[in-house]
Amino acid sequence: MSDDKVSIKDLLGLSDEDVAKPLPIPTDWSQPFWEGTKQHKLLMKKCANCGNIDHPPYLFCTDCMAEEHEWIEASGKGTLYSYAINSFGVPFPFWDDMPYVLAIIDLDEGPRVISNIVECDLERLENGMRLQVVFDDVTPEVTLPKWKPAG
């Protein structure tokens, strides 16, 4: 946020709670993913029975319903499939971030994710551009994987 902007919190007299960013609340079966991001590793759940890579992970493989699985480390490389630039009408916690980029990213390993594109001029955004993961330590406990232009 630039210095000349007034924060939504000050503008509307909001509480800290009103502007607190929502954080992911892991399930038992997604916990390893978030433990991975804390160590700046992008992990994917791979079915030990059929080899299907699921993201988001579910308790059972979405293909063969097997429970046995392993966590593999993804390359952190991907391609921009589609994007949007949120410029108005977002929940208060994201108000001061506008404009910010939401994107659908195709990971080289196959799965698709929703995330933010960061460290990128908005004019440079282009479908098909190569991206690499960056890890945003949003709290001491939670790290969100985000994406920036590769290279």
Binding site: S87, F88, G89, I104, R112, S115, V138, L144
Partner: protein, 400 residues
């Protein structure tokens, strides 16, 4: 469902817009009375009362609980009522509640079902609505922490669709123009007093690039109801029943990242078999339709659905809207109530609004929006993060 086995014989609707003082129950109560009077039946003939739940819960006055615990059949004094229940699947509710009604009618327990919908968004603050619609179609763990919103979801779909099909932003905006033209003929539409132009749509404030404010639907308060019966009873009590001739469905995903068809430019082609199945069940084809009722909620989704309805090549629906082929008086009357973008978005109710409008059209009761001599119409609806699609073919006659 057998072809023409069930029919709607009467409808009711209250104006859509900003009505904070009008409770959901009051709306449900009023539209129920209108539908009963419009159908000409005695209220004691109603054997089941089905309600589509409010999509955003309101703990202070829980309309959803009121409805599934039977406040409406008690209030209207439906002495023959046997079943009170709720069915909800977001924007797809009008379809899934019809499936529930069909099941009840099939069971033989009753031959008359009252179906109602009511929604009141204005009881919530703008931020509560923004928060709800950030999370409604999104995942709390995987999307919401990134500042995901419904508008951004639709914007990403639009951006990819335009990129892959060559559809222009002007063509996307043409959907909004067409919807507004129809809304201006509708007394119950939220935005019915002024037409808009492509230039105005594109130059309105950017909300989620590439979407501008006039490309984003507005949440509204509204409600509607209809009476559905067996065809046998419909013919006895109604001059012009509207028959369900063909239906088909497909579910794709909860999360947009897990859509079965990964190329959004091909979604229209992906929906095509659903419409083909519904047409086939009806014994009709796309050119037999007099009206094309599209529930898109965002202009790009309307293009994808039009791509699938069989009157243009998938990926080219933008040209059809741009030419004005969908306007009042044109070849393909489309979304004749103005749809979510101009009629107003009533959560679970957009599909209901389109359904009761379709019935009015096919009964010749659509007033200034009436498509002359309309006999057959095709309609879609869907819910969630564009999770599914349901196609319905309706007609005021059963084709021979």
């Amino acid at each position: 469902m057998g072809r023409g086995e069930f029919a709607i014989i009467g409808t009711g609707e209250v104006p859509c817009g900003n009505y904070p003082e009008r409770s959901e129950f009051e709306m449900a109560y009023r539209v129920a009375k209108m539908a009963i009077e419009d159908s000409g039946i005695d209220k004691n003939e109603i054997g089941a009362v089905l309600a589509a739940g409010h999509i955003m819960s309101n703990p202070g006055c829980d309309y959803n609980t009121e409805m599934y615990f039977g406040r409406l059949p008690e209030a209207i004094g439906a002495k023959g009522c046997k079943i009170a229940a709720s069915t909800i699947s977001g924007g797809a509710s009008s379809f899934s509640i019809m499936k529930t009604a069909e099941g009840i009618l099939h069971s033989g327990e009753t031959d008359t079902v009252l179906v109602v919908h009511a929604q009141r968004f204005s009881q919530f603050t703008t931020n509560e609505q923004a928060k709800f619609f950030a999370i409604a179609g999104s995942d709390l763990e995987w999307e919401v922490p990134y500042g995901m919103t419904y508008n951004a979801l639709a914007a990403m779909v639009t951006q990819a669709y335009m990129n892959e099909t060559g559809t222009t932003l002007e063509q996307v905006a043409s959907v909004c123009v067409s919807d507004r033209k129809w809304a201006c003929l509708q007394p119950n539409a939220m935005f019915n007093n002024k037409e808009i132009t492509v230039e105005k749509v594109i130059s309105s404030r950017t909300i989620a690039y590439p979407l501008t404010s006039l490309m984003c639907n507005v949440l509204a308060d509204g409600g509607s109801a209809f009476i559905v019966t067996t065809a046998e009873k419909a013919r006895k009590v109604c001059d012009k029943p509207v028959y369900f001739l063909g239906e088909a469905s497909e579910f794709s995903h909860r999360l947009i990242t897990r859509a079965k068809e990964r190329d959004f430019g091909k979604w229209g082609a992906g929906f095509t078999p659903v419409f083909e199945k519904a047409y086939e069940a009806a014994g009709l084809g796309p050119d037999d339709m007099d009206i094309y009722q599209i529930y898109g909620s965002y202009p790009c989704i309307a293009l994808m659905v039009m791509d699938a309805m069989g009157i243009c090549e998938p990926g080219t629906a933008g040209e059809l809207f741009e030419r004005g082929d969908t306007w009042p008086g044109a070849k393909y009357p489309t979304s004749t109530n103005g749809e979510a973008l101009s009629f107003g978005h009533t959560g679970t109710g957009c599909g209901f609004a389109l359904l009761v409008e379709t019935v009015r059209q096919l009964q010749g009761k659509a007033g200034k929006a009436q498509v002359p001599g309309a006999r057959f119409a095709v309609k879609d609806c869907g819910g969630g993060a564009f999770m599914d699609i349901h196609a319905t073919v309706l007609g005021n006659e059963i084709p021979g």
